[in-house]
Symmetry: C2
Subunit: 332 residues, 2 copies
């Protein structure tokens, strides 16, 4: 399978490493997604994995020349939708960084393109492929917490030094669509019910000079059957912390409470009390997200993701962001 | 100081124990707050502390006969406001279980009565008097987290066997006004800024036959300066858990993140990383809430609470509940 990569704004480096473990994968081309984009990082990863893809100036000439099976889209987030649409229209399978679009209108356009295309489309909703999330899902599906009534999620990241386009919300989409979106994905993955509505808030105060980038957000969702869910997200994780993120998931059910904290899964139910929760190790080994995408293309896997889940999660994040902007309760 | 107690619907037992440690405190009378209320629990506590107060049929005759300095109000929650108002109008100091009223109108009526009265009025907002909350407050005021940008709170209780009136929201007020209210109090105590607005959701599904009692809620507040805050509350803590509640507070600031988990206080900032957060023990010893109320009456303390904070916190909880009922964003 011939793979091309456009841009290095998000997780293309991780995806090249994951692809390198798939025997049939061959990286044949790459290009920047904007003028003077620094591609040094992914060039090093290519070399470390003995790939010597051709460098191009822009993705259209790259796709024309290389006619790849797969395009990894990791451009500035504002360009995800147009690049993805172009590639899908060419019949090229696309694995795109989230969010897949920066407006609900673009989401709907992409949806139509995807439906007409013979190619496969997934977004980089990586949280589903973390062993702890997967383990949580398996337990929940086995009935470990009974009927889910509430999900509480946290995403806390270090702000660090962000690429310049993060300062411009028209280019990056903001905190909810980049960070909280993982929590939204976790909610939908663990509780595959229809999202009825969202009310959200965010703030771009005290953002260390990062333009209009938000630093805090809270999104409150209602799913069918009055299941409540929320995601609180922030960029205030202290720089001294050892891990980049402090992600948490808490699933409250009629028969128990399951939590993911520090990448570990804990369960309290009638058999396990709070002093001795059941700690679920070892966690299940699952494929990487890009590995699963490639295996799904080859027919070896049915995949934890698909196009409709990829577009839906971005839609929900955009709806949450629009709610925070407008101070209005919005319905899906 | 002569103290009378009406009812045993909430924490009057705890307050009698706390009062017993104050030398000048003398419990002289008690009565039920509704027909056939079981007062066995507080009778045992009186006896264990060598108090032999007179039992009355109703609070009005008790107040007339005993002319106490203090009335502890622990009736069905729907009667808090009328009993408190009556006592305040008689010039009797009142220490009332929260919520102090079950409607915003009643809150405003109570506010007027309180302003006219010479007596002192506090609600049982016990979270401020927990050593961990107090320690958190002290650290925050010393600048440990910089400027507060977000507060995330959790209240999770066992449902257990509730008194019959909990099944009737007209009598008990619901989950937000009984449980989430503590989180609201923590937010206001730790970040004493004006609350601008609230949006909330709750659900009374799967409540084990407890009438219209809600079992889950999430309240999302915006305070001045775009400070965001939320409280998620539930009655799904498994019966097997050793502690009744799983309360958490997370305060996110520009310079650090402070957390209260399992009654311990942890701080991560530039000096402390996540693998070795600063754990703040021993925690500060502070008076009990009822002890502080009595000492404040005697002029020995300035008190962590007062009438306006007591009424405000109930108002915020009622506003949150009204938001959840109406699916509307409400402003204070």
């Amino acid at each position: 399978m011939k793979i091309c990569v456009v841009g290095n704004c998000g997780h293309s480096g991780q995806m090249i490493r994951e692809g390198a473990k798939v025997q049939e994968a061959e990286f044949v081309g790459y290009c920047p997604s904007y003028l003077e984009e620094d591609l040094n990082n992914i060039e090093q990863i290519f070399e470390a994995n003995s790939y010597y893809p051709a460098r191009y100036d822009n993705y259209k000439s790259m796709l024309k020349k290389e006619t790849p099976d797969v395009l990894v889209v990791d451009s500035m987030f504002c360009d995800h939708c147009s690049i993805t649409s172009y590639a899908l229209e060419c019949g090229i399978n696309v694995f795109c960084e989230k969010p897949v679009a920066l407006s609900l209108k673009d989401c709907e356009r992409l949806e139509k393109v995807e439906q007409k295309s013979t190619a496969t489309f997934w977004a980089m909703q990586t949280l589903r492929y973390e062993p702890w999330t997967y383990t949580a899902k398996k337990l929940i599906d086995q009935g470990a917490v009974g009927q889910i009534r509430m999900i509480n999620c946290q995403k806390s990241y270090k702000l660090g030094k962000r690429l310049a386009f993060f300062s411009d919300r028209n280019k990056c989409g903001g905190l909810i669509t980049w960070v909280a979106i993982h929590g939204i994905d976790a909610i939908q993955y663990l509780c595959p019910q229809h999202f009825r509505s969202v009310f959200a808030r965010h703030s771009n105060a005290e953002n260390s000079g990062n333009g209009d980038l938000e630093t805090t957000s809270i999104c409150l969702f209602e799913l069918d059957n009055n299941v409540l869910a929320h995601v609180n997200a922030d960029y205030y994780r202290p720089a001294s912390a050892i891990t980049h993120g402090d992600d948490r998931i808490r699933v409250v059910g009629t028969e128990g409470v399951l939590e993911v904290i520090k990448n570990k899964v804990f369960l309290i139910n009638m058999q396990n009390n709070d002093e001795q929760p059941q700690e679920l190790v070892p966690q299940d080994q699952i494929p990487t997200i890009f590995g699963d995408f490639l295996q799904t293309l080859q027919g070896y896997s049915i995949g934890l993701l698909n196009a409709s889940q990829s577009i839906l999660i971005t839609k929900l994040a955009l709806l949450a962001r629009d709610s925070a902007d407008s101070e209005k309760l919005l319905y899906l």
